[in-house]
């Protein structure tokens, strides 16, 4: 893991009307690392994701990805630049099969369009096959290939969560953002998830992880950043962050002065 | 391009434009209210208005028994009798529209998987009626068959309802389109004048009351402007001061929180539809006062224009509906003077497109939920 910075999230302030969701937040994500983003509910973690992936344009601040300013880009352009994500409340394409869901991700980088499809040009057929093969590979990698032909809305919860990750990986991202991937998992599943995230990093992806569950975040992250009320209050190695009094106060509250 | 308007004509157009716009405003309120609480466009609201006009027309012709001509002239009424008659017509229009709106909500918008008996009954009756219609041409026979089949079909529907599937948003819109079409066609098939114009006797003598800056102000235009204003004031007071009105505003802002706080959201939605319907009924009565006629298909064009007015003012915003309606009425009048009457209807569509493209939140751009109404 180098010190090479992949994503520079600099001095980001995000305001919605009268509410300030993020206040001068600066986070650097290094290439190849797994960065955990934690904080109490409402701290602004998902808002960070939304700013990074172009869902929101920040009120102030810049986001540089691989040296490029991505704030002016359209959302799908940001995805093509190399940032992919999953969602806190699963947003799969319910009426498509698992395979098709991942293929949509894989299709993102394909060039052929309506003309190629209508004429079934060799290039279109090759790209279609590529998407299909890659999608199948990813499903296998995530361990859900046995249900590839089932409609996404019919899949069990665990499969759906993993399918979302597979779909995001389909876009060939450099940075994978996971929004609470362990929600609703039992301890065994959480352990599997940890291994999966490490496997993903081994494949060469950089991972940004929002999680509430400390057994996931602390075990898997190389570094951890902590948000509270829209501000970054700590950053560093998991063990250090865990012992940081500001972090503890944020989660548990300051003891009463009675 | 015609020669530009004389000074006198401009104010004439302005007065009539304000009257026309007042009618748009009242109907626009219905769209804006429903959008505020449901975040849906009530596509069938235009037919609610149309039904109200028929209520008004039937009030004077069938219920009050006033003939088209009396002693060789218009059946004018004056003074106290006139006011009583007008009030009665208004009441009929409001009842027709209000009930129509309530029935519409129960049938076409209650798709949320929680079974509603009224909706199931109406749908069951319609199903039986339509099935019978396919085979038998006699309306009475169809009604009887439908009545017989209603009970068993209702039970079937209720059990289907209980399966509780959430309907996609598109389904509401299409359902409203279907309802709108069905209501208009029903009026065409079984209504008083079928597909022809339905005229009303003129009981109000349309004197010119006074002149304003060279323009004649006729009494009917004045009644429309003042009447609409009064109705809107009444609505605003209701929404701001009454308990139900507070409920409407609460649901418009955040339905889930309102529900948690004990607001009966379903009842509030019903009330909202009813309010929109009553306003449309008022508009309908005023409409028949000025135009003295209606038809089964007037709903569509007036609906689009009123919807445009609502969007122009800011959908979800009551004052916006008022502003949007008046502006649209004026713009339409001026444009038809400049470009010719046949392009009048296109004006609304163009305005709608322009607003949606450049300022989709409308002029006043706030929603019903916020405190400022």
């Amino acid at each position: 893991m180098t010190n090479d910075v992949l994503l520079q999230f600099s001095d980001i302030t995000m305001q919605f009307g009268g509410v300030t969701a993020l206040s001068e937040v600066t986070i650097d994500i290094r290439r190849g690392e797994i960065l955990g983003l934690i904080g109490p509910n409402g701290a602004g973690k998902t808002t960070c994701f939304n700013v990074m992936t172009g869902v929101y344009k920040p009120t102030k601040g810049t986001v540089r990805f691989d040296g490029q300013d991505i704030v002016p880009l359209k959302r799908y352009e940001i995805t093509l630049a190399g940032i992919a994500r999953t969602f806190q409340n699963i947003r799969l394409f319910g009426n498509m099969t698992a395979l098709e869901n991942v293929m949509v991700g894989a299709d993102a980088r394909k060039a052929s369009s309506v003309g190629g499809a209508l004429l079934r040009t060799p290039r279109q057929r090759a790209e279609d096959k590529e998407s299909r093969d890659r999608a199948m590979e990813l499903l296998t990698f995530m361990g859900i290939a046995d249900r590839a032909g089932d409609a996404a809305r019919n899949l069990p919860y665990g499969y759906q969560r993993r399918l979302e990750i597979a779909r995001a990986l389909g876009t060939e991202p450099k940075l994978l953002c996971l929004d609470e991937p362990a929600a609703g998992f039992n301890p065994a599943e959480k352990q599997e998830l940890n291994e999966l995230i490490l496997k993903i990093r081994e494949q060469g992806y950089t991972v940004l992880l929002i999680e509430h569950d400390m057994s996931v975040v602390m075990n898997v992250s190389d570094r951890v950043a902590v948000l509270d009320f829209g501000r970054k209050i700590a950053e560093g190695l998991p063990a250090d962050v865990r012992a940081n009094p500001d972090v503890i106060a944020a989660y548990l509250g300051v003891p009463d002065a009675s | 391009m015609r020669d530009w308007l004389l000074y006198r004509t401009f104010w004439d157009l302005t007065i009539t434009g304000l009257a026309l716009g007042s009618i748009y405003s009242l109907v626009a309120l219905g769209y804006t209210l429903v959008y505020g609480v449901l975040r849906l466009i009530n596509f069938a609201h235009s037919e609610i208005f149309m039904v109200g006009t028929f209520g008004a027309l039937m009030a004077s012709q069938e219920f009050l028994g006033i003939p088209m001509l009396e002693d060789g002239g218009y059946p004018y009424r004056t003074g106290f009798m006139l006011i009583v008659f007008l009030m009665f017509i208004l009441l009929c229009a409001m009842v027709f529209s209000g009930l129509g709106a309530v029935a519409l909500e129960r049938v076409a918008y209650k798709l949320r998987g929680n079974g509603d008996l009224f909706g199931a009954v109406v749908l069951a009756f319609l199903t039986g009626f339509v099935v019978s219609m396919v085979f038998v041409d006699d309306t009475l026979a169809n009604v009887i068959v439908a009545a017989i089949l209603t009970a068993p079909i209702t039970m079937g529907y209720m059990s289907l309802f209980r399966r509780g599937k959430q309907s996609p948003r598109l389904a509401f819109l299409i359902s409203a389109i279907g309802a709108s079409t069905a209501i208009a066609e029903a009026m065409a098939i079984w209504g008083p004048e079928k597909r022809e114009q339905y005229q009303t006797p003129r009981i109000l003598e349309k004197d010119v009351l006074f002149t304003f800056l060279g323009a004649d102000v006729r009494v009917d235009n004045l009644i429309v402007i003042v009447g609409a204003l009064l109705m809107m004031v009444a609505l605003t007071l209701f929404v701001n001061k009454s308990r139900l009105g507070r409920g409407v505003r609460a649901v418009a802002q955040d339905a889930e929180t309102a529900r948690i706080l004990g607001v009966n959201v379903d009842m509030i939605i019903l009330v909202t539809f009813a309010l929109g319907g009553v306003m449309a009924g008022g508009a309908a009565m005023l409409f028949t006062l000025v135009y003295e006629q209606s038809r089964f298909n007037i709903g569509f064009i007036l609906g689009v224009k009123s919807f445009t007015a609502a969007v122009l003012g800011g959908i979800g915003n009551l004052k916006g509906a008022l502003l949007g309606g008046l502006i649209l009425g004026l713009v339409e009048n001026y444009a038809s003077a400049i470009f010719g009457g046949q392009w009048k209807d296109v004006v609304a569509f163009v305005v709608l497109l322009v607003v949606l493209m450049f300022r989709p939140t409308g002029l006043l751009g706030e929603s019903l939920g916020r405190a400022r109404v």
Binding site: R75, Y76, L80, L92, F93, N95, M96, T97, E100, V104, G105, D107, A108, R109, S113, V114, G116, A117, R120, R125, D128, G149, D150 | L40, I41, A108, L111, G119, L123, L126, T127, V130, M133, V134, V136, D137, L149, A151, P152, I153, M155, G156, Y157, S159, S167, R169, L173, I174, S175, I177, G178, A179, S180, T181, A182, I189, V304, Q342, L353, L356
Partner: protein, 363 residues
């Protein structure tokens, strides 16, 4: 449970059983058997003008009051084409278009202008030009409006359809209220003459167009374009975040839909020979929508079924005729309440085994 409901349930169950049985037999058939089944089916369709001659079937399908073949050529085949096109917009991409009649009108009017009122080109030349012009209109309508949310898009497209009609009515160079006459008919193909008396060649021409369109749309559906459309329909924001250029693909949906709608218009104009603005009322857009929605949106076969139902039933059941708009209005409400997917929804996640990687997309 009351006896009526119980017997209805039994009927429903046996129908479902029959359907499942047929479905099982279908899947059990080998490819050559399926091919022969398809060929037989296609042949039967081309022989449709003679169905009324068959003893029992004939009396069931024959349309009182109008010649059966004319119903096929003037109404059914047009509606089927339209339903296929609108299915791309509404069913696949999920864009509620209430002004589809506009594209249909553009196709018809372009042909009329090119062959009759402003030029004297043959129908065959007017055909591709009209389709392109319709596509252009699709892009013109889509470009500014596709960023609008569903409900608003519906109203705006409705306005578009009306603007087209009103423009045709008010513009003298488009024939005004009188419309345009003397539209050229398609040229003779061998022994088939496209005259004014015999509707059969028109039906065959239209049917062939339907098959061509189906073939092309099938290719689109099973490509990244089709997948992008369905992704947009399912969750547009998620699709965008998965790298789908939603604006571009929505525009394509509009353009393709407009092209097919325009094609239907050309076919119509070439058959009837004269058009006026009253042929393109808003009501037609509603009926088009009903065809797609009732049949099963998102599914080509559902759209075709819907197109057939909406165009054929009013002719078959004469009682229906005057009341058909009312019936379809009620039907829309009922279907949306109880079965929003339509009669023949697209079955996702078939029971058959997943295709191994490398096998082409067939469905």
């Amino acid at each position: 449970m009351n006896p009526v409901v119980r017997s209805l349930r039994q009927v429903g169950a046996s129908l479902a059983g029959a359907k499942a049985g047929l479905s099982a037999r279908w899947h059990a058939m080998g490819p050559s058997q399926r091919l022969s089944a398809y060929v037989l089916g296609v042949l039967a369709l081309y022989l449709a003008p003679w169905w009324t001659e068959i003893p029992l079937l004939g009396s069931i399908v024959d349309t009182p009051g109008t010649q059966f073949t004319t119903v096929l050529s003037d109404r059914v085949i047009i509606f089927v084409l339209v339903a296929l096109g609108l299915n791309v917009v509404v069913g696949l991409a999920g864009l509620l278009d209430l002004g589809y009649v506009g594209f249909y009108a553009v196709g018809a009017y372009t042909t009329a202008i090119l062959t009759s009122s402003h030029a004297s080109l043959p129908w065959l030349i007017a055909l591709p030009i009209s389709i392109v012009v319709s596509m252009v209109f699709g892009v013109i309508l889509g470009a500014p409006t596709l960023r609008l949310r569903g409900d608003y898009l519906a109203i705006v497209t409705l306005g578009f359809g009306e603007i087209i009609r009103l423009s045709a009515k008010n513009a003298e160079w488009l024939g005004g209220s009188r419309g345009i006459n003397d539209i050229k008919h398609p040229p003779s193909i061998g022994p088939l003459k496209f005259g004014v008396v015999d509707p059969k060649p028109y039906y065959w021409l239209g049917l062939t167009m339907v098959f061509v369109v189906m073939f092309l749309l099938h290719r689109l559906e099973n490509s990244r374009v089709g997948r992008a459309w369905v992704a947009i329909r399912e969750d547009e924001d998620a699709a965008e975040l998965m790298g789908v250029d939603t604006f571009r693909f929505k525009l394509w949906a509009f353009a393709i839909g407009a092209a097919v709608g325009g094609l239907a218009g050309v076919q119509y104009a070439g058959k009837v020979g004269f058009i006026n603005p009253d042929n393109f009322p808003l009501l037609l857009s509603i009926l088009f929508l009903a065809a797609v929605v009732l049949g099963g949106s998102g599914n080509m076969h559902g759209a075709i079924l819907g197109g057939i139902l909406v165009s054929y039933l009013p002719e078959r059941l004469r009682n229906f005729q005057d009341k058909r708009v009312f019936v379809f209005g009620v039907a829309l409400v009922l279907v949306m309440v109880f079965r929003p997917e339509g009669l023949l929804p697209k079955r996702v996640g078939a029971k058959k085994a997943v295709a191994a990687p490398g096998e082409g997309g067939s469905q």
